[in-house]
Symmetry: C2
Subunit: 354 residues, 2 copies
């Protein structure tokens, strides 16, 4: 059954609620109200036109309840990390109203004694989206998954790997290919309603978790699997998560998502890789385990004007010789059509028996 | 204060007690008795000559108590994973005798209600070596560590990266360079009495954990830091852990540890990399973050006879053009002398400011 979400985004809906925006734009579940006093009385579309949603924005949980939500989604992260007291009150109020609590915070709400006890008493539950389930070690079973598996990779964090994955799945489905999005981060998990935040899994088991996700998608009958990538291969802090996905989900093809304006990895001295260097490093790494070619480049030209964006797309295409586009700005159909025939299963690199 | 260990290795001491052997051979703590009925009455030296230890092997904990141990070390993993009932009895007996319990098992003994309660009642404690402490994200502070940092890498798991690291530290200290071993796995942690099992850290924080370890060693005044590596760069399950160390401990130089007889990574189809391919892939990967050359190859020629071993060492040396030796078989002094001048600090790869 689909959830009916009230999204808690106190005073932050417009500027700092990536989770809320993702669920509004791509989620399988319905959003019946957004709670944010700073823009109450308006509709989502009035505040953020690109979300194309008429969902009402209200002042408080009690106002949201008139839209009959079944769940309260924490749609933004509190400043400073600790849960503010006023949020606690709203969450307890929602539990008392028998709403399910859905949270992507690092802090596990179900491990908070007050919330946990209240939820049990109210007969409802708390879903901490980031909490990883127990997973086995990587077994190699993913090598037998039938559908082609695409993994998105990136030149940095937060360049749009999730969005490109979702747009690719949409384009494939529109073209008649039954494609499935595999979520690997908390926003992706919230959007799809299943998945694992790979960055929260114990390092030894991270590849195993990725494998379980693609096996699940294959088992559900997908004809094409698109896995949301994480981090960057040369990210000083998160390369391990990137590599866990590269090995664990056994991809047959990679799509490079890049923001051409990024020069450095987050706040580290590390330079982002050029398109060519990135492709070469990923392909060389995977050649030692299971080869997967980069089949196209999905640029994030946000912040460039249309002419600049077209010029950058053309530059990348002629430099690299692969399909290249901005899938959000110009749509994903053309890009999907261009890479479709390159999606061929590859075999794991195998040792000669001696 | 040094511990006085009784090591529990019921029926497995001779063949399957890697932790026990490591602590006997390299540990800072003393081992006063080994508990294994299958070879009780003999001494460690009689069973495993290379350990060069006169420690008595006894039948039971009560016999071990006459040697006044201060701690019981679980020296082997139980078959099947679950803790056998007879082990429980011995552990509870040890707690009642006020011994500290030290365990490298995946299962956290301190989270077992019976053990935890008994330990509190007896005023002793349970040290689960694998339990990771809270660690921050990787910050880049390791780039400022003064001493050169060596990371051992390998062509597979369990080829001797810990042993080579320990032998290198011993050789450096004998040559008058104050070197420090940085443990990253449970046996290494038991040997050194500090450290973190990186494979148990949440993936996002694994590089940060590695960074904290080298910062600690640098802070303690080491002039050379040798980090125990884990896994292999093309290990289908554990590459993420390998990469977390490659980025997180900010190495200036790598030493490749390889067993030339290994053809495949554990039970996966994946072939082990040739010396040359392994060196090229590691160096290319790290060039994108912080360059670190491979400065030598430490072969594990266990299973070859002496002539075969010498031939393989010579073959690797002439093929690759780097210092090459078996540090266990032929000693580490010559190898350390050969790589010493190649241990030069490298700077992180930095983006031009634009």
């Amino acid at each position: 059954m689909r959830r009916r979400y009230a999204i808690l985004a106190l005073d932050r809906f417009q500027d700092d609620a990536k989770t809320a925006h993702g669920v509004l734009r791509y989620g399988n579940d319905e959003v019946v109200a957004v709670i944010d006093p700073s823009c109450a009385g308006r509709r989502v579309r009035d505040v953020l036109p690109y979300l194309e949603s008429d969902t009402p924005i209200v002042e408080s949980l009690s106002q949201a309840l008139q839209y009959a939500p079944t769940a309260l989604l924490i749609g933004t992260a509190p400043k400073g990390g600790g849960l503010p007291t006023e949020w606690r009150g709203t969450i307890l109020e929602a539990i008392a109203a028998h709403l399910e609590i859905v949270s992507g915070l690092h802090e596990m709400l179900d491990e908070d004694r007050e919330f946990h006890t209240a939820a049990r008493a109210a007969g409802t539950r708390i879903w901490d989206v980031r909490k990883p389930p127990g997973v086995p070690l990587f077994s190699g079973e993913a090598y037998n998954a039938a559908p082609p598996i695409i993994l998105t990779i990136g030149n940095d964090c937060a360049v749009g790997k999730m969005t490109v994955s979702l747009e690719l799945v949409r384009a494939a489905n529109q073209a008649g290919n039954k494609a499935r999005f595999v979520p690997t981060g908390q926003t992706g998990v919230l959007i799809a309603g299943w998945g694992i935040s790979i960055d929260r899994v114990i390092a030894d088991f991270a590849a195993g978790a990725a494998e379980q996700l693609v096996l699940y998608a294959a088992h559900e009958g997908a004809e094409l699997i698109v896995v949301e990538g994480q981090g960057a291969i040369n990210h000083p802090a998160y390369a391990a998560v990137t590599v866990a996905l590269m090995t664990g989900c056994a991809p047959d093809a990679l799509v490079l998502v890049a923001d051409p304006r990024r020069r450095r990895i987050e706040t580290y001295p590390t330079p982002t890789l050029s398109y060519g260097a990135s492709i070469a490093l990923h392909e060389r790494f995977l050649a030692a385990v299971k080869p997967a070619p980069v089949v196209g480049i999905a640029l994030n030209t946000h912040g460039l004007n249309e002419n600049e964006a077209l010029a950058e797309v053309e530059r990348a295409r002629s430099e690299i010789g692969l399909p290249c586009d901005d899938l959000v700005r110009f749509g994903a159909d053309r890009f999907y059509a261009a890479i479709k025939d390159r999606l061929v299963k590859t075999a794991p690199t195998a040792a000669a028996r001696t």
